[in-house]
Amino acid sequence: MTEPRSSPSARPAKRVSGTRPYRLPNEIGVIAALIAMMVVIGVSRPRFLNPINLLSILGNTTFLGMLSIGMVFLLAIREIDLSVGWIFNFSAVFSALLMVADVDPWLAALAGVFFGAALGLVNGILAVTLRLPAIIVTLGTFSMFQGLSLVVNKGRAVVPPEQASGYFTFVSAKLFGVVPAPAVLFVALAILMHFVLHHTRFGYRVQAVGSNPEAAGLAGIPTALVRLQTLVLMGAICGLSGAMYVGFRGAIDPNEGSDFALVVIAAVIIGGTPLSGGSGTILGAVVGMLIIQVISSGLIFFGIEATWSTFVTGAVIVMAVSLDQLIKFQRARRADRIKGGG
């Protein structure tokens, strides 16, 4: 029977307690994996553990990492956005072109963020009005955004002139002389978004819609609006990442971002956010992205060709999901044994 455990005599639930007993966070597994990986590389190649190297890994993680933070919200609402790489690219191109056109770089960067949000809005309006999953819509907008970006940048890198201005020095600055500014912003965004996911009504609604859209709708949650908001948020984060990228690298290559979507989704999944929706972990996504970066830079330390990193990343995804599935399977078995049948 599907509904065991109930006897009419024992009425009030006495064991219910008001406070949640302390538990290790679910992310402990990926964090342990990241540390283990760093220790293994560090023991054989001590130079890897040099703080400057580690911080540069963190710095490299920033731009993709930001996207993975947004993607957590999408997976949590049971959606996937494939167009993130091109929203990133197009927004970067947009703000770089504004800078070329002599707009104040700060303003141009801000415009890039709004531009990204606008592209997210396009995705959102299409998905909501056509009642299509975002993955279908963004399969199309993936190429649309890429195409438009190419039209605008004419297939060449866009390089803003006069990079001595405040915006560029700010983004490429190093806190205490070592910590790259984008890394600081990345961590700040992660903390902010963690808060948004768990302590705002928006975050609650995202999880509710992702867990069961029909029940969410019948509980009065405006599901279409929440989906729209999530896609706009994703776009804005892509825009932010793109605008910062222009400041950090001083240019935007026409192909930058082409392979972002899958890496970003991979990081989120490695981090432990389920594809089935309903929940998500920002911390997991950040750690997942770090794992991917540590692998690719670790391979360099071992003198293995960087071309292997794509393969290894894939292998790690497969390992992570198998491990996750194994743990779930074990939990389900334990729960079954405790529950018993009716």
Binding site: T2, P4, Y204, A216, G340, G341
Partner: protein, 508 residues
């Protein structure tokens, strides 16, 4: 004696970890009888059936078939012994054809190829006898639930079992489909098939069975011929305590609550045409109708989940129909949907999370979600509704049906709604929890709420409602109140759309 018994179970015991599912369960089934096993969820009846089907291995005790002790250690062994089982949950492949479903994993082959013709030949006769007249090449998913249930039954019958186990086969069926199923079961009995019929719908148990075994806490409490049993006796056996009636007495509306009403005039939408009625606070208005009559459309329309092309409706707040569920939730209209697993709950989320769905999802303003507030809310509803959960952080999936339903109701009660739209709120809920749900419904009404209560179980409509509106093929065919609420009249109206004798419909 042993000659006439096809099955004898003695002292069967089974533990899952710390939970005892069966302890000293006995059962003796006479050949050619329909033997009902009743009990609340958790009474052990499903575990017993699983043991007989070879899905679960008992810790101790014996099972005898035809007087010989047997070990049923796998589903295959059960099949070889002539035991077939129809589970509560359909286990069909919706995208595949009826035929493909009937012969899953034992497709007859000709020249090494699956032969559709052979399948049709073998199943035609049986399908005819079951009264299942459908295109066997159509996907099963296109059939009604009742027809799907018959497909499932047919699949098991193709194995030609001597002992057929039906584990709550009618939980998804409406009245008409249930009648048809019973007709089929009677035919099978006439052909000498013995049946074990598991259910907690007593009315139906009494309609179909020859003998009844009542189970409680993993034991058999009493076994009698149906003719020697009464419903109160069975209920008492199931819940183990004497009780006057299943239905709580009427509570008068609290004097400090202002009277309110919903006035519906000429409402169209979904399957419904020209529906008019008035529902007032302090009364429970029942909505009766067969599945497909459009009766659940009415609740969807009133909740804004379905668009109404025309009609005039005035709510207590003097406004019309809500445009969408969000607006409904904000205006104090609540809907407890019929399919709580699909429409009512986020199964993979905690009780705490679910209890906040309306409050946080639709009602509160301000951007923040207070974890502490959510916990307080959860504790309040858990103790108020006696929700049995290990903690507020338990997943909704882990609760029993009755407790899940209380969570669905609790998330609405938290917002103090004024209009309650209840769509079959006791479906799949055991007797003990049903009584608690009835208490809650009485309370909603006494607190000044307008209660519209739709149900597929006639006894609860009769036992609970002050008025019953009957809907037949999308039209309102009757409104019964007071002494008119008598099963015979209502049943007749529901099934035929016409009043039996004089009493014609009286609209407001």
């Amino acid at each position: 004696m042993p000659e006439s018994s096809i099955l004898a179970v003695r002292n069967l015991a089974k533990r899952y970890g710390g939970v005892t599912a069966l302890q000293g369960m006995n059962l003796r089934v006479e050949r050619g009888a329909i033997h009902a096993v009743v009990g609340e969820n958790g009474a052990g009846k499903s575990t017993l059936m699983k043991a007989l089907a070879g899905v679960v291995r008992p810790d101790s005790g014996t099972i005898e078939i035809d007087g010989e002790e047997v070990a049923i250690d796998s589903p295959g062994a059960a099949r070889n012994l002539g035991i077939g089982i129809v589970y509560q949950e359909l286990s069909l492949f919706p995208q595949r054809s009826v035929l493909a479903n009937l012969f899953v994993n034992r497709e007859p082959a000709r020249f090494g190829l699956v032969s559709r013709q052979a399948m049709e030949e073998r199943s035609r006769d049986l399908l005819d006898r079951l009264g299942l007249r459908v295109d066997v090449r159509e996907p099963v998913g296109l059939l009604s639930i009742g027809e799907q249930q018959l497909v499932e039954l047919c699949r098991v019958l193709l194995e030609e079992p001597r002992l057929l186990i039906l584990d709550e086969p009618n939980s998804a069926l409406n009245k008409g489909e249930t009648e048809r199923l019973f007709e089929v079961l009677r035919q099978l009995r006439a052909r000498g098939i013995t049946m074990l019929y598991v259910s907690h719908r007593l009315e139906e148990v009494f309609a179909i069975s020859d003998a009844v075994t009542v189970t409680r806490n993993g034991r058999d409490v009493l076994t009698k011929d149906r003719s020697a049993l009464t419903i109160p006796e069975v209920i008492e056996g199931m819940i183990g305590q004497r009780r006057e009636a299943l239905f709580p007495p009427r509570i008068e509306q609290r004097a400090d609550r202002a009277p309110a009403e919903i006035v519906v005039k000429g409402l169209n939408g979904g399957k419904l045409r020209d529906i008019s009625f008035t529902a007032r606070s302090g009364e429970i208005v029942g909505l009766a109708g067969l599945e497909g009559s459009g009766v659940s459309n009415l609740l969807e329309l009133l909740f804004g989940a379905l668009k109404a092309p025309s009609g005039e409706v005035v709510y207590p707040d003097a406004r019309g129909l809500p445009r969408n569920p969000t607006e409904a939730a904000r205006r104090g209209v609540c809907l407890v949907p019929a399919d709580r697993r699909r429409q009512g709950l986020m199964l993979e989320k905690s009780v705490l999370f679910n209890l906040g769905a309306v409050m946080v999802g639709a009602r509160q303003s301000g951007p923040f979600y207070s974890v502490r507030g959510a916990r307080e809310r959860a504790m309040r509803q858990i103790s108020r509704l006696f929700i049995k959960a290990r903690s507020p952080d338990s997943l909704a999936r882990e609760l029993s049906g009755g407790n899940q339903q209380k969570v669905v109701i609790g998330k609405w009660l938290e917002t103090a709604p004024r209009v309650f739209l209840l769509d079959d709120p006791t479906r799949g809920v055991d007797v003990g929890a049903k009584r608690e749900v009835y208490d809650l419904i009485r309370q909603m009404s006494a607190d000044g709420g307008i209660v519209l209560f739709c149900s597929t179980e006639l006894p609860e409509l009769v036992g609970l409602c002050d008025r019953i509106l009957v809907i037949y093929q999308g039209r309102m065919v009757g409104e019964l109140s007071g002494r008119e609420i008598e099963s015979g009249t209502v049943l007749h109206l529901i099934n035929t759309g016409e009043a039996p004798r004089s009493a014609k419909s009286e609209h407001d």
